[in-house]
Each structure stands twice: as C-alpha cells, then as structure tokens.
Symmetry: C2
Subunit: 457 residues, 2 copies
Amino acid sequence: MDIKEIYLNKDKFMEKEVIINGWIRNHRKQKDFGFIDFHDGSCFKSIQVVYDNKLADFDEIQKFKIGSSISVTGKIIKSPASGQDFELQATSIILLGNSEDDYPIQPKRHTREFLREQAYLRPRTNLFQAVFRVRSLTAHAIHSYFQENGYVYVNSPIITGNDAEGAGEVFQVTTLDLNKLKNSKEIPFDEDFYGKPVGLAVTGQLEAETYAMAFKKVYTFGPTFRAENSNTKYHASEFWMIEPEIAFCDLNGLMDIEEDCLKYIIKYLLKHAKDEMEFFDKFVEKGLLEKLNNLLNSHFTRIDFKNAITLLKESAEKFENTPSYDEDIAKEHEKFLTNHFGGPVFLTNWPKDIKAFYMKQNEDEKTVAAVDLLVPGAGELMGGSQREESYEKLVDRMNELDMNINELDWYVNLRKYGGCTHSGFGIGFERLLMYITGIDNIRDVIPYPRTPKNCEF
Amino acid sequence: MDIKEIYLNKDKFMEKEVIINGWIRNHRKQKDFGFIDFHDGSCFKSIQVVYDNKLADFDEIQKFKIGSSISVTGKIIKSPASGQDFELQATSIILLGNSEDDYPIQPKRHTREFLREQAYLRPRTNLFQAVFRVRSLTAHAIHSYFQENGYVYVNSPIITGNDAEGAGEVFQVTTLDLNKLKNSKEIPFDEDFYGKPVGLAVTGQLEAETYAMAFKKVYTFGPTFRAENSNTKYHASEFWMIEPEIAFCDLNGLMDIEEDCLKYIIKYLLKHAKDEMEFFDKFVEKGLLEKLNNLLNSHFTRIDFKNAITLLKESAEKFENTPSYDEDIAKEHEKFLTNHFGGPVFLTNWPKDIKAFYMKQNEDEKTVAAVDLLVPGAGELMGGSQREESYEKLVDRMNELDMNINELDWYVNLRKYGGCTHSGFGIGFERLLMYITGIDNIRDVIPYPRTPKNCEF
C-alpha cells in the first residue's frame, strides 16, 4: 500500500485498515502519545502516524529514530489537527531497519551545500523529493510528447571518434595502460580498444540527422559531455540533452514544434506534479507558477537577430555590453528582449561566424537560419537551426573552418543521397529543469553531478 | 501529411487530394506510366505512387533516382494492383533532393554486413526501419510501464570513480595530455579533470539503490560500458541497461514485477508495432509471434538453482557440460530447463561464489537470493537479486572479496540509515531487443554499435 493511493482515494480509505512501509521523517514524543511524520516516497506528501500507550511495545516505539524504516498497521481516521484531512492511527509499528544517531538528515534546515556532500541521502528531503520526482516526470513528458507525435527515439553513440562541434573540450576514452605509456615513444593507439583516439560525445545531432533522413521525425535523449573547466552554477561536465531532428521542416516549422513541445512539458508537470510545483513556488522561486502559466498563455514572439539588435541599440536602456550586429548577445540583452515583448522570444537568423558549421546559410551570405529561444527569467532555453542541405555550401563552409571532411563524409553524404530541407533543436535537460523548478544551481537537479575535480559516488 | 495517417484513415482519404514528402524506394518506368515505391518514414509501410504522361514534366520525373527526396501531390484512389488497397495518383511530383548513381541502398538484397558499413543509410531499408522503430517503441514501453506503476526515473552517473562490479573491464576517462604523459614519472591525476582516475559506469545499480531508499520504486535507463575484448554476436562495448530497484520488496515480489514488466512490453509491441512484428516473424525469425504469444500466456516457473541442477543431473539428456551445484549453468542447460517447463523459468538462490557481493546471503551460507530469468530461445534475459540489507554481512563479504569499503562507504551506509528489504534487477536493452525482434547480432539493434576496434560514425 502506498501513501499516494490514500491521498488519491481519501474517502475510500476512511476508517479502513492499511499497512504501509516507509521511513520516519520526524518523531515527536509525549508521555502517552507519539507522532511520526511518515513518508514512503510514493508521493510528495507524508502522513502523520499517531500511536498511544495502549500499544504493548509503546516504550520501544518511542525510541525509534529519525530515518529508520518501519512498517505501520493502522486505521485511516479524520484528523483533529489542522493542515491535514486524515491521519493514521497505528495498531502496530514494526521496526524494519534502524537508523543510527549520526544520521545526517535530521529534521532541521540543511544548506544545499551540505546536502550536496550527502548526495546519496538528499533525495530523502522535501526539496530533493520534489526535484527528482519532477526530473523523472519531465523526462517522461518529453518522451511522451515525441512518441505521441510520431517521432522515433534514437540512441546516438556516447563514445565517438568525431569531435562534432569542433569544440575541442572532449573527454578522452582509452583502455591504454597509462603507466606503460610513459615509456613509449608514440601513443600506441593501434593497441587501444577502438584502435584510434576516441572521446565522449558532446552531441548526438549529426547522427540524429542521419536517422531523420529515414524516419522523418526523430529525437535523441541521452547524456552528453563537456570537459570544460567551468565552475559556474550553470555548467556540469555530464548532462542530458534532447535533440529532435525533423525532415521536410524549415525554421518556421521548427519554431512551431519548439513552442508546442515546451508548452506540453509544462502542462504535463502542472498536472502531474501539482504538490511539487506548489512547493517550488512557495519555497524556491516565488512567482514560479505565474511565470509558467504566463508562458503557457503567451504566443512566442519571432524576431530577426538584426532587428533585435536595432531594437536594443535604439532603446533608452544603458547596457554594459554594446549590442553588435556581428556578435553574440549578452544576458542583459536577452532580459531586455523578453521584458520588451512580455514573454518568450525566438531570435532568428544569427551572424554566421558565431554559429555552427552545419547551419543553413542564408542568401545574405552573412547569417544562418539559426534560432535561439529566450524565456523570461532564464535567457536561452533551446537552440536550433535549419541545417545546410546544399552539399557544396556545406563542404565550402567546412573547408573555410579547416574541418576534416573525410572524417565526416557520412554526414556530408546525406546531401548527396536524397537530402532535403531539415531542421532540429537541442534542449539541455538540466537547464530546462532549472527553469521549471526555480533551482538555481545545476548541481541540485542532477542526482550525482560531475564538475571539475568532483566525481563522488 | 504522413503516409501513416492515410493507412489509419483509409476511408477518409479515399478520393481526396494529399501532399506527401518522402523518398523514392524504387522506381519502375514504362513508356506512358511510372510507379514509385514511396516511403516517408512515418510508418513501416510505403505507398505506391502512380503517374502518367499527362504530367507536363513526365520525362523529367522518369529520371528521378532511387533515394531521392520528392514531394508528391495527388489523389488517393482504389488500387487495381493486388496486395494494396489504395495508391496515390500523382498530379505533381517535385524533386526536393537528388540522389546520385552511387547511392548504396539499391532495391536489392544487401547483406547485413554490408549494411553495417553503411550504418548511416541502413535505417532506410525495410529491415532497419522495423528494427529501429521497434527499438524506439520498446524504450517507450519500458518508460511507460515504470511511470504508470509509480517508479521514479533516475539518471545514474556515467562517469564514475567506482568500479561497482569489481569487474575491472572499465574504460578510463581522462583529459590528461597523453603525449606529455610519456615524460612524466607519475601519472599526474591531480591535474586530471576530476583530480583522480575515473571511468565509464558498468552499472547504475548502486546509485539506484540510494534512490530506492528515498522513492521506494526507481529505475535507471541509460548507457553502460564494458571494455571487454569480446567479438561475439552478443557483446557490444556500449549498450543500454534498465535497472529497477524496489524497497520493501523481496525475491518473490521481484519476480512478480519482472514477469509483469516483460509481458507489458511485449503486449505494447504487439499492439503498437504490428507491421514490424509481422515482418520479423516472416523474414527474420519464423515463429517469433508464436514464441511471444506463448510467453504472454504462460505463468513463469520458479525453481531453486539446486533443484534445477538435480533435475539436470537426473535427466536422460547427455550434456556436454556436467551440471554442477557450485558452478554457473551452460546454454544447453538453460535450453533444457525452458523446454522441460515449456516456458520461461525463474532460477533462484544461486551459489554465492559466482554472484555479486551485494546479493542477500541466504541462511544456508552457501547461496544468495539471486534470480535469473531464462526464456525459451534466448536463455538469460533478466538478472536480479534481493540485496544484502545487513551492514555486518555486507561488510564481511566485501572484506572477503578484498574490496575497498571506504570507496563505497555511502553504499554500505544505506544499511545503517533506515535500510530495509530491497531488490532489483537488470535488463540489457539490446539483449531484450534481440529476443523481441529475432535479430541475432547485437550490432544490428544499435544505431551505431561500438565493438573492439570499431568506433565508426
């Protein structure tokens, strides 16, 4: 029996006997009574267990410690206490697993820094119960959205020989004996597991494109890696990405999908994680629910990068960074734009030199058909583009950037064998979670976060 | 418009005009007519496009090559041809993307070995359309099963400092400059990204257990890695695993869940991938549908390892490998057992020495509460166990095996802080796919498989 079931069917269980297994969150003792804040992980809420000295082992029960696992048999009754409709009047409480006095998660306020060090215990707290149930539900919302809309889920490879973004900050993967390496003249990659240097994927997009040319609509959802030495609240070296890719779809079609997808996810959470979302609204980011509801009710603005820069330049606002037609925009500019339009903004057709090689080159020869989605309070949430479908233009651009075309011949060949207009976008799963929950540190939305010098558990 | 929509609503579309984008699978030309086998990736089936010389650009259209992407406008009409209810009478066919003469996927029989070399194009073939749509649907069936049953999805870490299974065959992950390493006396792990040696996870189970102690029911579903130099049909170095973990659940409860889960997945596929499953039954494994339906209709047998060995020993069968009470069983034994019981068999309580350290030690001190699920035609499909919940027994066993307890203190501590009876199992996603599709080589159920000396795309 789950506590969740009781909350879902209060009336049905009233005055009925139930047996529930779970953990002691808190334990208040009085001379002839005891109250246990009892949680079983099935939902955000806990239930109050009341017991009295009529129980034969009353004295033993009073010694049960915070964190212990117990099995409670009892009756659901109307609660006289305020703030709860019912409670569980115990007829038996059996200790299943003791908890020791040094149990770190005591019923008091712990800092998030402390809880990060106790990452294996923190899901037992209210905050992380909410965070990680919402993480799970968000993942399922994403899968459900794409599956319901006829997309095929593709597992792009994690270990890869291509450095797709040309970013360079890639983790190497090897089975070579690093100790023996010290004495060898050349790195013997022919003795390595794959016979060549390989690393962890920074994206699955290029492989997703190959599948979009077969299934029309596909998406990836898997871990990606960045060996970037960034110690910020926004960077983890291991994070999950969703990368949808759609054939016969241009930039406008892509924006339709992005907007539809984001609204679906948020609606799903407001419906399936009501308690958790209210908790975030109350204790993590005041106004969170209003922010999300505003997004649901808005039609996302679409504006050319060029026009946005003009708007920034002509505004009365004093910016620390001068807006430029050739450069990326700053956080303050993003903020101005979402404020100005009173909601999410799709920023399209970016300067080619600050975007990736595979993006479709526009006729002006200066911009590419890229789009970033900016949302109030978080800035960029999704990034996408129409992909270059011309073999010649793609090869020219790769040559310009001094890329190894041979290594990516399969990717380039897609343009030789029935290529077509196609587009795709990426969502950083954790960035999305931060936006949805209001949690401001990426380390607090990943069960076991990996950051520079930190790979615990 | 998708071809899938037309198949789902034939009557609605009859005599109606449609516009569809897709690819030419085959192109038969006659003097005044042409027939295009037209596929758009939205479902397994293609549609026949018929055009005639009334089209102004008839001569141009006749030159369209296999693999090209086209946009077809036309009317859905009753088909005179056998084997199809309707066809698409084109009023316009526009070339979107040409395909060149060296396009490797011509309408003839290609070997699977050849198609593996063309891994970026193989999803355009019937076989791999079926395989990778079923892979996607199976993934969603798994997520749906666990989400509907109240499990929380946990992303266990991919980069890890623990060698959880003690298996040793782990890929190292590093950002050290291997070239400079040659000249250094000691490996400078303090300069490495995480400040210590790390590798790719072989399992997420231990981390999943920590979350089961908070959410009661959890599951992982992510990539795992084995740097094992095995060149068999069953081994890949990168594969996906599902690892559910359930608190307050013993070995019997676990078997209930495993059986329920497997049946759910198979039912889901028989319903949502009808065409694909029929294709596998006809062209990949004759009798596949019967095999799966038999499984659905059977109640899985549960038998003690010891009793199974006695059964093997007492059988009239001549085995190449002598059954032993202390050793793992061979493929031939698995086959005998599933034949003998006429269906899937749960084999429980295995000799402790051939199983992992974390499994619950039985009172006989010789066996552990492990369970393997054997299925007809494939042998082991799932492996699980009740976990040792006694702090002392777990530590003793780890000492016996000379394991570093300090490194896993968080895992061991779960037994100090409200531990309880709990169990979990693992499913190799690709092994499951091989069983479900009848495909006999793991390289053919992974989009871009990684095996020794092979890391292409």
